[in-house]
Symmetry: C4
Subunit: 222 residues, 4 copies
């Protein structure tokens, strides 16, 4: 609309950015709907309401955790879209599984809110997060490989490396969940995985053996 | 707002596109709210949660199917709006039943998620999808006939033909649902109906007998 | 943003239009969430699901009715905003009760969907609609009186007259609800009230006795 | 996009404003979903529905109160963003707890709607509101201190003072809730706290002892 060439129909970045924002905002607000409402008996006195709230403390923690995780994924998507000059079919198509997992997240959040100690519940939550962040990483790599970015593609690949790092961290936490009941604390330090794991992955990928340009076949450029 | 002539009040494409996006995003995110949450007894152990999740596998499949179907309808609407230079009253009015059916879809999705084998449940879902896609086809034909498109109207009519093809495919699946319990697998190959059925329908319509210009009377042009 | 003078902070029309769109889209999509989902027993056979759907036919009708009513109010708001060049404090403030009633509408819709024959249920629905449409009429009159419109203020006042007509029609239907069980059919012909009642009200108001400029004191102009 | 210098990736004000709008609109519309729907027995007669509605009068009041409070916070955010020329990392980051509390508000609203007389319920609601308004105040102070505003930073600090005033008012109401059952009436006069308390706080802060520039360390300027 404001660029020199009008984008191909269906490939205007503004509308995809808007749609992504809407899905994130709705999913994040629906997280609070999952929180169990007290019934009349649990509201009859300060003590009754107090013990209701204390009993459900894990669901408030799960709400806050999922909200902050989705917020940080949204922020990274915001940064990505601000570097993008146009869309490709593959870039757009990978938003379908990405947003499906965002919309799905309230379900595993409700599950861990009720039974954080259950390893299968932790697997469900960490698996959804890992798959979501892997989709994010693929989207970034496609942007870097297809010449969609306005700046330096190497920077996008570094960001993709950070996303791969966060995703692997969640996969790792799945393994830990079956060994230790408190493995979920690993989720709170996921940002460290972005910083340290991301730097490691980026170094591995820029070495000849793992050249990122060889991965996604959507209009690659050297 | 940015074109040479300001559109008539109520006919600015941006706001209709935005409203459509919002309805789609909300309906797609609400699909996940339909998924039954496990109660405390079903969360007590890995085995209990595991059998809960396996029991409900159809509702996760229904969620993913409805999400992907709505995503593809939204993508086609995005492409349509990028070809549109203005709105007509009829074009806008047909969005009311179209969006009503989008908003309604979480209901049949919940129904098939619980009883996919029930032919009436399949009829409800496929009927809603067929009606939604027929509305989409009418909207495209109106755009082509009313001179709203900026490019070649014949291309919009080809797209409308693909939509009619997908809609007829869903109608066909209703008939099949009463004969075979697994007729719903037809829904997963609906994109093929767009490609092959759409080409067939477009050929039939461009023959003299089924000329598309004779259909919708909203400012037709030759 | 695009006009010659930047609007006063908090009075940019785009963001108010957007916020209104979002509230309408969410309320309209949530209408479908109100529809009772069948439980497993009601899904066991075609007959069971069929009688479930037939029993609830009123709630599907109520969903469609409320969706179409909200759509038409949204369309009129879209037309209004396309005629507006700026906002005033009063114009914006009246959106608070207006949008509150839009957000509230799913509640009376659920109530009439379950007991359309109950006169109090009809009163609740028609009263919410009447109050919403009266707010719409006040907003239009403020726009006309405060010089916010880019075209002819008299046209906005005619539109306001139509809104007052629709609102009075809903008030009238409340009276009828206590006399006849099927008074709700009056709601389906509300558009006629806009056309005929609106013309009548506009004529009364432009006569010296009911001059519209004397009503809302927010920067009146002659 | 329209300014002379393109903002740094992830720091375009439009998308943050949009995201904030979406969260507010969804939270405000979901408030009405909290309202308990009458079951069939409560709909059987005018008397039954009447006593149902009268019994729940507090939840309608809570809905209207929370809607109006969120509306006024949204309006102030709208005014703030219209004064902003760019974003900083701290300004954006403080939106995470701010919007988390907005999304959370439907939960305490449901709680006070059922048991307004319970002091712990009032504490939960007033505490959420206080924390939300404090976040708003911090966001405004950051905007003033970091040179993000296009006009006079002193005006933003006066607005921040009003927000601190409203927040303190809610904190005060928590204390009152444990002494008087009707302390919640203080919430209805919160706007007075913005006017009078805000003026007081602004005067205290501009005195040498409480200089606002010493507070937030995000790119301070004199």
């Amino acid at each position: 609309m404001s660029g020199p060439a009008r984008p191909e129909p269906g490939l205007s970045p503004e509308r995809l950015a808007f749609f992504t924002d809407a899905i994130f905002a709705i999913a994040m607000t629906l997280l609070a709907v999952e929180l169990g409402r007290p019934d009349e008996k649990e509201l009859v006195s300060v003590r009754a309401l107090g013990s209701f709230l204390v009993d459900r403390r894990n669901s408030y923690l799960a709400f806050a955790l999922a909200f902050v995780l989705l917020w940080s994924v949204w922020r990274r998507h915001h940064e990505l879209m601000d570097r993008i000059g146009g869309l490709s079919r593959a870039f757009t198509a990978w938003h379908a599984p990405f947003l499906l997992l965002v919309a799905f997240l309230p379900f595993p959040t409700a599950v861990i809110g009720t039974s954080i100690g259950n390893p299968l519940a932790q697997t469900l939550f960490a698996g959804t997060m890992a798959a979501m962040v892997f989709c994010e990483a693929v989207i970034k790599d496609i942007a870097g490989n297809s010449g969609l970015v306005t700046g330096d593609p190497a920077e996008i690949h570094r960001h993709a490396g950070a996303s791969w790092g966060v995703g692997l961290w969640f996969v790792l936490s799945i393994g830990a969940a079956w060994l230790f009941p408190y493995a979920f604390v690993l989720w709170f330090v996921a940002p460290l995985a972005a910083t340290y794991g991301g730097a490691l992955i980026s170094r591995l990928r820029t070495s000849p053996a793992g050249h990122p340009d060889l991965r996604n076949g959507d209009r690659p450029r050297t």
